[in-house]
């Protein structure tokens, strides 16, 4: 008897643990007069959850503002959050749920791999998706329902290569990147930008996204004594690589895309190790323009923390969606996708003008990490 009771308790415990994480249940049956259902899918748990949480706050800020201002022609927007856990498999389940439960659009995710996994399902369901992923593979899908909040890695890395090679004259460059969707995109884009400049990297090390010990890879890089070490990995892994590289005595300047411009990178690497890292990003600082400054203050008032690129990216995406929804009067499907494609907006990350591949912005800027924060290169 005792045994049976415990069996039930143990089974219940497991069942409870296996239940859906904080992803909120969406209500069925939105009508043309009821609220407009928008899904926000992003990692709320796991190693990439910092991105997901920033993204959600950015999206929520834009949606709350729109609702306060009267919503979409009088209809309120209902924003529901789904936890993708930064995992493509979880992502596909979330995509099916979103498709089944009558959402007109999806914002997110911050991860290219998850967005890539979700894209076919959302395309079939004709649900427009505005993502913060930036892998060139997203643009290659040419899905009429997928839109990027930012440039792809091709733009990020072209700007970076131009700065490092053309402007600074560096030729001794080594690469370390992971073979995840984001890292592989960065690797290919940067390598091709180097090739067009006739620069062959001294070393080209590829690691796995779960790898923690880079001694072997970095020791090989150190033997080549590069001037620049390009890091193509997400925030935490980039930080670990930078930290271990300095411990090994690698003096090269670190360079990379948006992840190396975050405080997660800087604190993981250690502020001293991160100092001087070259960042290519469309969003360098909260003081860059009066518009960005006003946005950062608004964000700080709402969430009591500093704004950052992922917040701005998500805010831009949500604002574009709101603008498009106003044009379609809340209707989704092809009509909404076409409306998004037509939106021209001076956003926080730059001027949005979607091309045929769904890419919204086509340039990035160069910044340098100083005391854990990015400052625009020209001002340094």
């Amino acid at each position: 008897m005792h045994f049976t009771r415990f069996s039930i308790a143990a089974a219940a415990l497991v069942a409870l643990a296996a239940c859906a994480p904080p992803g909120q249940q969406a209500e069925q049956g939105a009508t043309a007069t009821g609220p407009i259902k928008i899904a926000n899918a992003n990692a709320q748990s796991g190693q990439l959850s910092s991105l997901g949480q920033w993204e959600h706050k950015g999206v929520k800020l834009a949606i709350d503002e729109a609702n306060k201002a009267g919503g979409i022609n009088g209809r309120q927007i209902q924003l529901d959050l789904f936890d993708s856990q930064g995992d493509p498999t979880v992502g596909t389940n979330v995509a099916r749920k979103i498709a089944a439960e009558g959402y007109v659009a999806m914002l997110g995710t911050a991860e290219s791999a998850v967005t890539l996994a979700m894209a076919p399902i959302l395309k079939d369901a004709r649900i427009p998706n505005i993502t913060s992923g930036q892998s060139p593979k997203l643009a290659e899908l040419k899905s009429p329902f997928l839109f990027l909040n930012a440039p792809t890695s091709v733009t990020f890395d072209e700007t970076l290569a131009k700065y490092l090679v053309d402007d600074k004259g560096h030729k001794k460059i080594a690469l370390i990147s992971n073979n995840g969707a984001y890292g592989a995109g960065e690797h290919d884009a940067f390598l091709s930008s180097l090739r067009t400049r006739n620069v062959t990297p001294l070393a080209d090390e590829v690691v796995t996204p779960d790898q923690k010990d880079f001694n072997a890879n970095l020791a090989k890089i150190r033997e080549q004594d590069p001037e620049v070490l390009f890091i193509g990995a997400e925030e935490v892994q980039s930080g670990l690589i930078a930290k271990q590289a300095r411990e090994l005595g690698i003096k090269a300047v670190f360079a990379g895309g948006a992840p190396v411009g975050t405080d997660v990178y800087a604190t993981t690497a250690g502020l001293k190790n991160a100092e001087g890292t070259v960042v290519s990003s469309p969003y360098l600082s909260n003081d860059a323009t009066p518009e960005i400054k006003a946005f950062a203050e608004k964000y700080k008032a709402a969430y009591h923390e500093e704004a950052r690129m992922h917040v701005a990216k998500a805010y831009d995406g949500a604002s574009i969606l709101i603008e498009a929804l106003k044009q379609t009067n809340g209707a989704g499907g092809q009509k909404l996708a076409d409306a998004i494609r037509g939106v021209k907006r001076a956003g926080l990350l730059g001027d949005y003008a979607y091309d045929a591949n769904g890419v919204g912005i086509h340039e990035t800027k160069i910044g340098l990490v100083k005391d854990g924060k990015v400052v625009p290169e020209a001002a340094s």
């Binding site: 005792h2 045994f3 415990f6 069996s7 143990a10 089974a11 415990l13 497991v14 409870l16 643990a17 296996a18 994480p21 709320q44 748990s45 796991g46 190693q47 959850s49 910092s50 949480q53 992971n178 073979n179 090390e205 590829v206 690691v207 796995t208 779960d210 790898q211 923690k212 010990d213 880079f214 001694n215 072997a216 890879n217 970095l218 020791a219 090989k220 150190r222 033997e223 935490v236 930080g239 670990l240 271990q244 411990e247 090994l248 005595g249 997660v264 604190t267 993981t268 250690g270």
Partner: protein, 289 residues
């Protein structure tokens, strides 16, 4: 040669941590014949507890580790108390129970510390040592020394104390142990607490080398488990050798096989286990079911 030695240092450092995780798995398996799948999550809780006390209350790192060990030791006792009614009855349910506990601990960590995690500054201020061009991070030396000391202490406890001997006796034959008056439940509880303490030590040490977050236990748990299997599950020397072997294998695979390193690591692991199913130290497996 330099690359080889540098790889060796990285491998041994991570291997020392895997060894601690593997020892935690093994000590519970020895006494109860049970694989504690919550072990990886306990490592994560240990990492969080130590780093939180170290960073927010400004406790010295060593004291923070002791506090973390106490916290997880308590968690170990709780897990054992929940599983005790199933002892010698249903091991499958006990296994599922440990998986459930792991998920609960992960969810608990998200509730307490949030989902985003934090970076832990190195408690050792001095830079790496330069030995003929080989850079040895001073923190790596600390990790290896602490892991070795913990291993030594555990061996002393198991070999030379009455309680340790009692635990060994329970591992060998729990019915005979009961007959001579050893309290099996208490012995198992102690095994769970020591296992959890080792997890906390591993977590505390790896915190400044990684980024502490609620899901970090996953990879560490799998690698520690594989290390224990490689060494011979249930064998304490096996856990140490397995941990170091796995760390080195991981490190050299990363250098030589790049993006296929994980595949190579686990292929080698699978090959070793196929040739020697009982692991390198090949003790007869404990089966209490």
């Amino acid at each position: 040669m330099q690359v080889f030695l540098q790889t060796l240092i990285g491998g041994v450092t991570f291997g020392a941590v895997y060894a601690l995780v593997a020892m935690g798995f093994s000590i519970v398996y020895r006494t109860m014949g049970l694989v504690n799948f919550a072990h990886g999550s306990v490592v994560m809780i240990g990492a969080y507890a130590a780093s939180t006390f170290y960073m927010t209350t400004r406790l010295p790192f060593a004291v923070a580790i002791v506090v973390a060990i106490a916290v997880t030791g308590l968690i170990g006792l709780v897990i054992e108390r929940f599983l005790r009614p199933l002892e010698n009855k249903d091991f499958t349910l006990m296994l599922i129970g440990t998986i459930g506990f792991g998920a609960v601990l992960e969810a608990g960590a998200v509730l307490i510390w949030g989902a985003t995690g934090h970076a832990v500054p190195s408690p050792v201020a001095t830079g790496p040592l330069d030995v003929a061009g080989i850079r040895v991070p001073t923190y790596s030396l600390l990790v290896i020394a602490v892991a070795a000391a913990a291993t030594g202490l555990l061996a002393l406890f198991l070999q030379h104390t009455k309680r340790g001997a009692a635990m060994q006796a329970v591992a060998m034959d729990h019915q005979a142990a009961t007959a001579v008056g050893i309290h099996v439940g208490r012995s198992n509880a102690l095994a769970f607490a020591i296992g959890a303490g080792l997890a906390a030590l591993a977590g505390s040490l790896i915190g400044p080398m990684l980024y502490v977050n609620p899901t970090m236990g996953g990879t560490l748990g799998i690698k520690g488990f594989a290390a224990a299997m490689l060494g011979g599950f249930g064998s304490m020397p096996g856990a140490i050798v397995g941990g170091l072997a796995f760390g080195l294998l991981d490190s050299f695979a990363a250098g030589n096989f790049q993006e296929y390193s994980e595949l190579v690591t686990f292929l080698v692991f699978a090959a070793v286990v196929m040739i020697r199913p009982t692991g390198i130290f090949g003790e007869a497996t404990v089966n209490r079911a």
